[in-house]
């Protein structure tokens, strides 16, 4: 393996980072997330806006979401084994842009739908005296196996936590969904009067997964109310709840 490594080293081309790269400090990666159809490929770009050459190691990992949608790095998830990283090590000179090629394999027949994975880029510490500090950037990758797409969200229970409404939403489809204001809204009613219409903090929901979608309550709303959750897209539906705020 050691002998192979030098062949995998890609010295970033001497394109200045200003040529097409976002102007940010430090390390910049784009796209920050991507969807790959099985059998297709994509390129991640890395701009080095530090003052030193950066060596990046690249590997595939698993990606999980906690109940509130926060990403968590895990060893493996359904799409991990399907993502091939062609460039394991990238050296990006100061002010330059490097690239990382990804490919989604399609070696065996799989059921249609999305499978999450994560490509992890680690900037090696320069070393030296003291405690070295390094950074990693995780790029979520959805591997999409072609076939019939099923998009279906379902509303579950609602609970109140501090000044937040937490609504359970289940993804019964086979593709990942971004659940935001275009997907679900809740209305807070007291009698015939609508007190508020709330849009959620956007979050992702993987296929066949459930999670909490959070709505921040306005401070003025207290007491017993009726909350009506409306599913707008990709499927429609509604559910009512009686809660005390």
């Amino acid at each position: 393996m050691r002998a192979v490594l030098p062949a995998l080293v890609v010295l970033a081309v001497a394109a200045p980072a200003s040529a097409g790269a976002p102007r940010r400090a430090g390390l910049v990666v784009w796209p920050a997330r991507t969807t790959l159809v099985a059998g297709s490929s994509a390129t991640l770009h890395v701009a080095n806006h530090t003052r030193a050459t950066v060596t990046l190691s690249v590997r595939t990992m698993g990606l999980a979401l906690d109940v509130r949608g926060a990403p968590r790095l895990v060893r493996s998830s359904p799409g991990t084994a399907l993502v091939l990283v062609r460039t394991r090590r990238v050296v990006v000179a100061a002010g330059a842009v490097g690239s990382v090629s990804l490919r989604a394999t399609a070696s065996r027949p799989l059921a249609a739908g999305d499978r999450p994975a994560l490509v992890l880029l680690t900037a090696r510490s320069a070393g030296g005296a003291g405690i070295g500090v390094q950074v990693r950037i995780g790029v979520p990758v959805e591997v999409r196996v072609p076939g019939a797409v099923r998009r279906r969200l379902e509303l579950g229970a609602l609970r109140v936590r501090r000044r937040m409404l937490e609504l359970i939403v289940r993804n019964r489809g086979n593709v990942a969904e971004r659940v935001g204001g275009g997907s679900v809204v809740v209305e807070v009613w007291r009698g015939p009067r609508r007190l508020a219409t709330l849009r959620p903090r956007p979050r992702d929901l993987f296929p066949h997964a459930a999670g909490l979608v959070e709505f921040r309550l306005p401070g003025r709303v207290h007491g017993r109310v009726r909350v009506v959750a409306h599913l707008v897209a990709p499927t429609s539906g509604r559910r009512g709840f009686s809660v005390v705020l």
Binding site: S125, G182, R203
Partner: protein
Amino acid sequence: MRHRHLLLVPLVIALLCASSAAHAAGGSSSLVIAQLYASGGNSGATYANDYVQLFNRGTSSVDLTGWTVQYASAASTSWSPTALSGTIAPGRAYLVQLASGGTNGTALPAADATGTSNLAATGGKVAVVNNATPLACGATAGSCAGSAGVADFVGYGTAADFEGAGAAPAPDATSAIARAAGGCTDTDSNTDDFSSVAASPINSSAAAAPCSGGGGSSSAFASASVRLQIQSVIAIALGQPTLDFGGLAAGATAPPINESVTVTSNDTAGYTLTAHRTAFSPRDLPLGLSATAPAGGSLGAGISSTVLAALPIAPAADLTIGSTSAAAPASGDVWATKIGFIGPLPSVPAGQYTATVTYTVIPR
């Protein structure tokens, strides 16, 4: 657009159509073909699949039960239908994913319906039909537009049939053809209503963009719609690459060292910032972290700005410093962290002790 400088870079610009809606024809359907892409998967393709994007330019929802999108090649009268389902609310899009001609290009947004029609890049005909019966028209100009059940019809490129005076232009590997005014214009003339734009598919989850005054209304002004596709970007920068506590005696209490971590992300769902460390060599020392969240950020469980929380040693799970649930400001979110020792230094052999702290950022 708070991130203009950040976001203007990796973009595909598509601009379309200055159009006049003054010629809206009577009898035009509220459900129209808004965009069409025919090079999916081909060499140099932006997207991996062909697609047809529908749009409801009317003022009421359309139930698609029993409806189909049908395709026939340029001169053919043999049509292949793709079944549709669900409803389209006013101002909403509906994405129909079709065949792929190869392995190039990125995936489409999640489609609302899928089919196997392989659209020819040079020319063809697409119809939206309110039933599932394959059409039998298309050999001559104007033959399909009046056929029973046809809600909208587009002939492009070398198509023998089209609405109005001529066919729409042919799309290519990176371009789709799109209906003017974001799908609102329908003058029943394919050559007037469609132009070439950078392919930019959207599905039913995209925000509604109703047509002003309802579909098909006349107006005395011209309008131009501008569409950008902005890529997601994430950036992380450290205040300093190494933290040096200098010479310390066993039993000493060293003040923590500041390490600022600046994160920039245009993901509207935000990101999560975590940390872990390696063990000190030659013997481990108890390292911890405290942090202050930026505006709009929230600290992870067990993290505070005053008390150091133990930094886990890999491969243990990372310590969550905090997260955000919105795009970061253009200047980035600055997480003011402190790295220090939890309590006095233990009695360990003299020597140089080194470790590595790793900060990890992942979009939500």
